[in-house]
Symmetry: C2
Subunit: 424 residues, 2 copies
């Protein structure tokens, strides 16, 4: 059984590699044609997709998850239309492949060109939401990468139905059917086997909960691009415009608490704490946000009769993804920077201040993927950055950091032209 699975996964990876070699040199017109076909097929296949989704929702795995997770799993006509629309959005994005990034003529006459090319074969390991199947397939396709998709068992039938449409679209456009493949089993052994195929697969992107991501990072011999979590900070400096600070804190916390770029932590400079905290705490409480505070914050808020809970050490480095925020008073800019570099997940952190010197120092010294001065952390997003699409946000330090769009799904190769040069 396990040997059969190994063979199945190996064959899939080998076919992906062969497809990747074709796809890397496929013209934009063919890739866009496949995407347009796919959008049409999704629109035309609502009934089939809903039927497959109903089978998933009736299954034991989908029955076992929370109502929120079940909702994310569910397709309806509106969501299917949205899926097709998201595919059409990628059609109009520029093709990242082929751009000459650097060109040098060496003293010996060699012409060295560094050209953007696809990574090759990308495996995406994800949970639940069926739209991830389409998102990942289309972004990999547009960037010239073959993809191997391994979704969760809760949406296996929906994913299988979507993958069938993708295959149809590829074939209709004259591209290899193996350019996008869904792993046809949700057996964990198949995943383990897949993660060792570094001869054929060049990159793994896990998307989902932290435990899935850690599992992939620990078991993969293939390079992984990942984002564990977003423990994002807002620091209100002593020179902050306090109305702006309140608006940014509120937006960063409550505009979408389940997002990885939502604020989980608030630091307030001691000099403005007495003035700022009661007002922001009232505003947060009005949005049902629970405050987990240090003693200094609690002491300021107690007379104002605002309910707080003492924070634990763990709270100070927790991604709540919920209507909860941890609040601390700090003595200085340096203390704020030190706290963030110790407790944040190096995702997105913000300072609110009118003091440019303080802001410049914060921007330089906070060691995170995106550092904000007088803006909400919620802007860390491929669309907000103008990338047009996003495959994820990296908190790693290799290859890509922050939002990843089509260009981040590429690498480069060197094309070197000579006239018979040899090395002496």
């Amino acid at each position: 059984m396990s040997a059969d699975l190994d063979e199945l996964v190996l064959s899939l990876a080998q076919r992906a590699r062969a497809a990747a070699l074709v796809l890397a040199n496929a013209p934009r017109t063919k890739k866009d044609l496949a995407l347009s076909k796919l959008a049409d097929l999704i629109d035309a296949s609502a009934a089939t997709l809903l039927e497959a989704n109903a089978r998933d929702l009736a299954g034991p795995e989908a029955q076992a998850v929370s109502a929120a997770a079940r909702d994310r799993l569910t397709l309806n006509v509106g969501r299917i239309q949205h899926l097709a629309a998201s595919v059409r959005e990628v059609v109009v994005l520029p093709d990242p492949v082929g751009e000459v990034l650097e060109e040098t003529r060496r003293p010996n006459g060699l012409l060295i060109r560094k050209v953007r090319v696809p990574i090759g074969v990308i495996a995406i390991i994800y949970e639940a939401r069926p739209n991830v199947t389409i998102d990942c397939a289309i972004l990999c396709l547009k960037s010239g990468n073959a993809s191997i998709l391994r979704g969760g068992k809760e949406s296996f039938h929906t994913n299988t139905a979507l993958a069938a449409l993708i295959t149809q679209a590829l074939v209709a456009a004259g591209l290899p059917a193996d350019a996008v493949q869904l792993v046809p089993t949700t057996d964990r052994a198949a995943l383990n086997s897949l993660l060792k195929l570094d001869s054929y697969i060049h990159c793994v992107i896990p998307r989902g909960g932290e435990s899935l991501i850690r599992f992939v990072a620990q078991n993969s011999t293939i390079p992984v691009i990942k984002h564990y979590k977003g423990v994002c900070f807002v620091y209100v400096d002593r020179a902050a415009d306090l109305a702006m600070a309140e608006a940014i804190t509120l937006n960063a916390k409550v505009q979408r608490p389940s997002a990885c770029n939502a604020a989980e932590q608030l630091l307030v400079h001691r000099d403005v704490a007495a003035k700022f905290l009661p007002s922001v705490a009232r505003a947060l409480a009005a949005k049902q946000v629970q405050l987990r505070t240090d003693a200094a914050t609690a002491a300021i808020l107690a007379p104002a009769q605002i309910a707080t809970t003492p924070a634990t050490t763990e709270d100070y480095a927790t991604e709540f993804l919920d209507y909860v925020i941890a609040v601390r008073v700090v003595d200085s800019l340096e203390a704020a920077i030190g706290t963030i570099n110790r407790d944040s997940s190096n995702h997105s952190d913000a300072i609110v201040t009118a003091d440019e010197a303080a802001a410049r120092r914060f921007l330089a010294e906070v060691d995170s993927a995106t550092v904000y001065w007088n803006a909400s952390t919620r802007f860390t997003d491929g669309y907000e950055f103008g990338y047009g699409a996003e495959i994820g946000i990296s908190t790693d330090r290799l290859h890509a950091r922050g939002p990843m769009g089509l260009r981040e799904l590429c690498i480069y190769k060197f094309l070197i032209e000579g006239t018979g040069q040899v090395r002496s």
Copy 2:
């Protein structure tokens, strides 16, 4: 014992992370001062270094290795002077940190700047040659990264003596002593423990034999940049200038057979095989190169009385690193490209041809880090590319591909300036 080792390695990684935060914002002048001091200290410490090296050479590990490996391990006055000179070369290289790579003003007024910054903490796991200790330390330092060096047991005393000089130089320049640390034990358990510290270490670069590199890739939860091997091809097209083809083949094979960019494989188009092979085979044989051939090549060379050995399937994908080359006749350009994409290590491959269309197709379709038209594969090298320094050559597809210099030891962060923007 193992718990003690875990603690030792954890403390080292934590101190490296603290040093990295300082180093990331250290001005060029301080980094260059440390490098200049180090060069002077190396020059002034020849006696100490030779003594430490003598202890290594007398040890059981050094006694056990081959004469060639022992030679690589050995320091002498000339090599020590060369070490100091290589440090001074890095002083004059530009600082890669701080360059603004992109700058965008979004419609909502946000200013997004993508700025080059150091990766953070880099662990380098290497074998034997003591000059790697200096190379890696200085390139990481110049690029603002803290480094953790883990050398082989054969050169432990030499490495320890060199690390002491580095620490002196750092302190003299007012930089954190922990910016460069040598793991003070060669116990394998310490390495295993180190490779799991992904909270503090951001990148691992293994340098050495393939088994070391595979061990690191398989056991690290930290992202790894690596280069397994160089199985490099020269393809002589039917439209090749045969004199040029012979010169390139010879240079690629014998100019330095132990280098990863040396050619190991020769493919010859059937239309020119009868004319090209006897001449190139004689020239290779004159340089003591052993020919491992397919039947077609052997049949051509037999009448010319040139000795050949039948190649095995394994030979066709082997990195000989020696005076050996595998030779095959191919029927077409497509067959050459297919063979290379199947058997090469995607490091450096060359076509020799006067046919531009054939060359363009080869450059586009050969899926390797560096692809050459009418030049020797031996040019894949940071110095030859004009980088001034090289920490290695990547055959991975993430972050960096091909020669890696100072800029490839960096990543970027986004600095975002607003005027109170919140997301709606």
